[in-house]
Symmetry: C2
Subunit: 410 residues, 2 copies
C-alpha cells in the first residue's frame, strides 16, 4: 500500500475549528486509499507561551525539563487530531515521539535523531489505522524526553517518510508554497512549482520559513517534499532532487531561483587585534561554548600588523556575544569592539551561480542603483549574500527580484 506522510504546522492547528479542518484533510488522504502518517506541531503559539511560563519560574530553565514541558504541546495536538478522526468514524491512534520510535541522543533542546524504531507505527498502519505522531520530540536511550529544536516537526515528518519508505512528505502550513521571495516584501514574488534540495537548503538557511535540517534530511534520503497550504487545495511547491537539472535545460540563462531575506542580523567588529594565527579560533571558540552561532565572518586585510574582524550573529544573541567578545578582545590586545543591531541579509540563490560570471556584478549593481550600501558580502556554491541595513531589506529584495527576472507577470 502506498504511504503518505503529512505534516501540519502550528498555525494550521491554532484552534478547534482548524484542528477539525486538519482532521478532514487527513481523512481525505486516507479515503484516497493511502496509508497515512500525520505529524503535528503544537497548536498556534503554544511553544512560545510555554517558554514564557518556564522563564517565569526560572531565570535559565534547565534544558531537560524544558524539553518535557515543550513536548506536551505536540502531545496535545496529536491527541486532539486523533480524537477528531475517531469521532468521524476513522480508525486512528496518536503516538508520542517515544511511542513512534523516534530515538535521539541526549542533547536536550537540540537533539539529533539517532535512529527510528518503526515497529509500533508499522503495526498500527497494518491494522488500518491513521497514525498521528507528535512532532518535534524523541526519546533518549535512558527514556528521557528530548526535543529536536524549533521548527523541527518537519524533521520528524521527513525522517518518518524516509524511514517508512513513503512516496513523499507533504508539509502543510499557512502559505501555499515556496516563493521566489518573501511576498510581504516583494508583492510580485511568485510561487515556485518546484525547486531542488540544494537551492531550498540555501533559501531555508537564509530566510525561508523551513527547517534547514529537514531539507538536508530529505536530500540525503532523496524523499520528495511538497510544501502547501492547509487552508486551500492549491498545489504547492515540490522540493526534490531532479528540479535543477530539468529547469536548467530550459532556463539556462537564469539560474537564480529565489531571493532570501532575513532581518534577524546584528554585527560585531573587533578592532585592531594583532594579526597572527589563531585569533579567529580564540574569538569564536568561547562564543560556541555559550551556544552562540556566528554567521557571516569577514576579516579585513592586515594594516600594520593588526586586523579588524567583523561577524554577524542573531539579533537576540548580540548582548551576550558582546560581553564574551569584549573580554577576549582585551586579552588579544584589541582596540575595542563596535556593534550594530539593525542589519539584514539579502541573498540570491541558484544552482550554478558560482560557475557563471555576472551574477555578483548584477547583484551589486542592482543594489547600488537603489542607493543601498553593502556592509558585508559572503558567498557559497549556489548563493551570494549581502548584509545591508534592515531598513532597506524590502527595497533590496524587490530590486534583486526584478534584476533577476523573477517578477510574476502583473
Amino acid at each position: 500500500m502506498a504511504l503518505v506522510v503529512q505534516k501540519y504546522g502550528g498555525s494550521s492547528l491554532a484552534d478547534s475549528s482548524k484542528i477539525r479542518n486538519v482532521a478532514a484533510r487527513i481523512a481525505r488522504a486516507k479515503d484516497c486509499g493511502s496509508g497515512v502518517v500525520a505529524v503535528v506541531s503544537a497548536m498556534g503559539d503554544t511553544t512560545d507561551e510555554l517558554i514564557e511560563l518556564a522563564e517565569e519560574v526560572s531565570d535559565s530553565p534547565d534544558l531537560r525539563e524544558l524539553d518535557v514541558l515543550l513536548s506536551t504541546g505536540e502531545l496535545r495536538s496529536c491527541a486532539l487530531v486523533a480524537m477528531c478522526l475517531k469521532s468521524a468514524g476513522y480508525h486512528a491512534v496518536s503516538l508520542s515521539g517515544a511511542q513512534a520510535g523516534i530515538k535521539t541522543d541526549d542533547q536536550f533542546g537540540m537533539a539529533k535523531i539517532a535512529g527510528l524504531d518503526t515497529e509500533r507505527i508499522m503495526a498500527e498502519l497494518d491494522g488500518g489505522k491513521i497514525v498521528v505522531v507528535a512532532g518535534f520530540q524523541g526519546i533518549t536511550p535512558g527514556m528521557d524526553i528530548t526535543t529536536l529544536g524549533r521548527g523541527a516537526s518537519d524533521l520528524t515528518a521527513i525522517a518518518l517518510a524516509a524511514g517508512l519508505g513513503a512516496r513523499r512528505c507533504e508539509v502543510y502550513t499557512d502559505v501555499d508554497g515556496i516563493y521566489t521571495a518573501d511576498p510581504r516584501l516583494v508583492p510580485r514574488a511568485a510561487k515556485m512549482d518546484e525547486i531542488g534540495f540544494e537551492e531550498m537548503l540555501e533559501l531555508a538557511s537564509y530566510g525561508a520559513k523551513m527547517n534547514p535540517r529537514s531539507i538536508e534530511l530529505g536530500m540525503v534520503y532523496d524523499t520528495p517534499i511538497v510544501v502547501a497550504s492547509s487552508f486551500s487545495d492549491v498545489p504547492g511547491t515540490l522540493i526534490h532532487g531532479e528540479a535543477d537539472m530539468n529547469r536548467n535545460v530550459g532556463e539556462i540563462r537564469n539560474r537564480v531561483s529565489g531571493i532570501a531575506s532575513d532581518t534577524n542580523v546584528a554585527k560585531i567588529t573587533v578592532q585592531g587585534v594583532r594579526d597572527r594565527p589563531g585569533i579567529a579560533a580564540s574569538l569564536f571558540e568561547p562564543l560556541a561554548d555559550v551556544g552562540i552561532s556566528v554567521d557571516v565572518i569577514v576579516q579585513n586585510a592586515s594594516d600594520g600588523g593588526t586586523t579588524d574582524l567583523t561577524f554577524t550573529v542573531k539579533r537576540d544573541d548580540l548582548r551576550r556575544a558582546e560581553s564574551v567578545v569584549r573580554r577576549v578582545s582585551e586579552d588579544l590586545g584589541g582596540r575595542g569592539i563596535v556593534s550594530a543591531l539593525d542589519l539584514a541579509k539579502v541573498s540570491i540563490v541558484g544552482t550554478g551561480i558560482q560557475d557563471a560570471p555576472g551574477y555578483a556584478s548584477t547583484m551589486f549593481r542592482a543594489l547600488a542603483d537603489e542607493g543601498i550600501n553593502i556592509e558585508m558580502i559572503t558567498t557559497s556554491e549556489i548563493r551570494i549574500t549581502c548584509i545591508v541595513s534592515a531598513r532597506q531589506v524590502g527595497e533590496a529584495s524587490r530590486a534583486l527580484h526584478t534584476a533577476f527576472d523573477l517578477d510574476a507577470p502583473s
Copy 2:
C-alpha cells in the same frame, strides 16, 4: 534515609508564583534531610480546559486520546516544578507516570494501578535528587498512556508512598485539613487533628474533597496521610489507622466525627412497576452500561402487586439516566417516572454508630426541629445519610453539627 512523599493539588500550582511557592516547600523538606518525592497535579483548571477543548473537536472524545491529552497537564506541572528547583540549586528530575513506573490496566479514563516499578525513582533518589512525578497517570503494558480518574493524583502519591516505604504521604491543598463539616456551610466547623481511615473514607465518599480510592489505598497499605495547606504552615489533619481507638477511649459518648454534605444529587422515581424478582437488575444494568453510578436506592413496600423504586444519581447524569430509565420502565409496564434535581445528601459519620442506639433518632429529631423534610435514608456501618432539599443543606449541616457536639468553641 527517611523518605517523604508530598502531593500538591492544582490550586497550589495555579500560576508561576504558586509553582515557586511549591518548589520552596519541597526544597525545605529536602533541607530537613529527607529523601523527597513530590507528586503534582495539573495547574489550576487545566484539566477542565482540556476537556472543553476535546469536546470542541469531538462529541464524545475517544477515551484513549483523552488520556493522552489530559496527561499533558501534569507533565507540564512536573517539568516546571523540577525546573524551578534546579534553578534554586537543587538536584531534581521530573518523571512522567510512565517514567515513574506507574503500571496500570488499559481502562482509559479510570485505569487501575496494576503495579509499581520503582527502579528509576530509586536510582534518582540514590543519586540525591528530588523526584517530581506527574500525578494522575500511568502506562499500560502496551505503552499507552492512561489516567486514573479525576482527583487521582492523590492516588499516585499514596501508591508511591506505600511502594517506596515512605514514612507518610503529605497531601497539600488549598484547605488546611479535614473539617468536622464543610466550613462554607457550617461556620463553627473545626479542623480535626486526626481521623481514622474508615471514617475518612465515608467523609470522602459523601462530600469531603478527597479521592476515596486514595484513602482506601492508604488504609490497605497502612500509610499515614497528612492533609494540610500549601499556603500556610498550620499543622494539618493526620489520617491514619489508630485514630479511632485513641479517640474512643476519651470520647466514648460521642462517636460522630464529622458531617458530610453533597449537593450534587438528583433522584428518579419509577412508579408502579410490577413487583417481581429481577426488576432492580433490569433497571440498573442498563444504567451501569452507560457509565452512570447509582447511589442511594429505596424500594417502597409493594401495593397491590406494583412497587415504586427511587434512586439517586449525580446531577449531571440525570438527563441521560432519565432516558434510559424511561425506556426500561415502559418495558416493565410501569406507570412512568418522576424526577427531582435539587437534592442534597447530609451524613453523620463515626465509628460505632451502627452499634450504639440513639444516633439515628438524634439525627432525625435535629432535622425535624429545623423543619427539614427527609426524602430518603440510607445507612452504613459508620454512617447515616439523609436526602434533603438542596436549599436546606446548610441548615441541616449546622443543626447536625450542633446536635452532635461538634461546634468549635465560639
